[in-house]
Each structure stands twice: as C-alpha cells, then as structure tokens.
Subunit: 76 residues, 4 copies
DNA sequence: GTGGTCTAGACCACA
DNA sequence: GTGGTCTAGACCACG
C-alpha cells in the first residue's frame, strides 16, 4: 500500500482515508489495536509526523483512542 | 483517587503531589510506612515504574526513605 | 565493550563507571555530546531504561546535562 | 500436576524432576522459555523460594539459562 | 531523531 | 512480600 505524493490531497489525509477504510472493512477491528506509529511509517513510506497527524485526526474525530505506552485503539 | 492522563503534568509528578499532600494532611504519618509500590500501582491505576519514579523523587528530596524488603517510610 | 551480567553490580552502575572513565580519558570530551541513548543501548546490549538510569545518574551528580530533543552533554 | 509434601524427597527436587521430565518429553522445548516463577508457583502450589531453588538447580546443571527481565530458557 | 513518559511483566535480593 | 534491576516496546514533546 502506498500513498500518492503528487495529488493535492495531503498525505496525512490520504492516510486517514486508508485507515478509516481498513476499520470499516474489518482489517482493523473495533476495540483492536492499530499498528504502531513506526509500522505505519514504514508501510506507507511517510514521515513519523505524518503518521502522528493522521492518528491524532482519528482521535479528534472520536474514531480511535490512544494510550501512552500501549498504542492506539479503535473505539467500539 | 485517580490521576489525570490528559493534562500535561507527567503522571509520576501528579503522584508525587498526591503523596506529599497526604503526608502533610496526616494520612501518611511521619515515621510511618507508605503503602507498597503494588498497592499504589493499583490504587492509582498506573504502572509500577511510574510509582517507583514518584517514590524515588520523594527519597531524592529527603521526604522519604526506602529500605529493601521492608518498604518506604516517611522521614520524621 | 560489554558489561558483565553475572557480577552483583547492577548493569546501570557498570555503565556509569564506563561512561565516567571515558569522560576522564577524553573519549568523551568536556562540553561535547555523549552518544544517544539508542547508540549506547546498542553498544552495550542493554535496554534503553538501563541506559537512561545511568545517564540520569550522571546528571544527578552534575557530570552531565541533558537537553530534550538535542542530547546529553558532558559539563565542562 | 501436584507435588507430594509427605515423602522425604524435598519439594524443590520433585519440582526439578517434573521440569526435567517436561523438557525431555518436549512439553518445554529446547531453546524455549519455561513458565514464569509465579506461574510455576501457582501450578504446583509451592512457595516462590521453592520454585527459585529448583530453577537455580537447572541453571547450575547447565540445563537452563536465566536472563533478568526475560525469563528462564531451556538450553538447546 | 533526540530525550521524556509510560506500560507490562519478568527475575533478583532482602527480610 | 517488599523494594531493586532489567527487558521490550509503545506514544509524547522538542528541535
């Protein structure tokens, strides 16, 4: 899975879309843990800040919840 | 009694404040023993490392004293 | 350089001794930066917590100084 | 699985025998990790000192190897 | 890409 | 059954 650096949509937003899609199709289960920031960084080939931005967006939207030292979880 | 994971103050520092307050109001008496690390861990819902960090801070400030195998005591 | 897991001296204390020795023999210069926590972790084959414990000991003794996001420096 | 507190063989030695048997029959694989001290303590209903004594015996005999913070492993 | 905080859980040493 | 050490690996804040 790779993102497209050329189109106008910001990378972090493309990433949000991918993550939301994966939550909806069950790749990431509700109540389950998302991959770590480093994993996502590597999988999508983006900077860590981008990953953090995307995850914080999910948290702000109430889709996910993050716990220090444990990871980011999909809300049920 | 619970700590607040949202505000910027580190959990261990919040814990220090609570312990100091309890020493000052007499909940933990001078010369008496503080609850064990495991007790505090359970009461405040944090990891043992966080509890230890807070207790070591009290020791560094000369407020408490710790003895291996016995516990942590409030200095008179 | 490796540490000895068998003897009773804690690993973090052995690490303190090595770092102090390197400061004294000029391997790490006064005013210069120490290797990052991750580097030391790899060089000595210990966990990052152990490295941090050793570095914080140097800071507590006034031998080094640490700046968030930049590194740990030997005091002149 | 329970041990027999009545017979003259010390509990820790009975425990050693059980562990060795389990290594030989493959319940605990060579190179694999033994259950934690607390697990064994609960499974066999013995004190922690007994478990530690038995494990240290395995280590002394070169059957197992223990690493602080990780567990006790069966040597290949 | 550094240091800072935190979690979870193991074994170690003391009493 | 306490505190002491250690591992492994996560997210956070700074630069």
């Amino acid at each position: 899975m790779t993102l497209d650096p050329d189109i106008s949509t910001p990378l972090w937003r493309q990433l949000v879309d991918v993550l939301v899609a994966r939550i909806e199709d069950g790749t990431y289960r509700k109540g389950g843990r998302l991959p770590s920031e480093v994993s996502l960084q590597q999988e999508f080939g983006v900077a860590r800040g981008t990953v953090r931005h995307a995850l914080q967006h999910l948290v702000a939207e109430g889709i996910a919840e993050t716990t220090n030292g444990k990871g980011t979880y999909v809300k049920p």
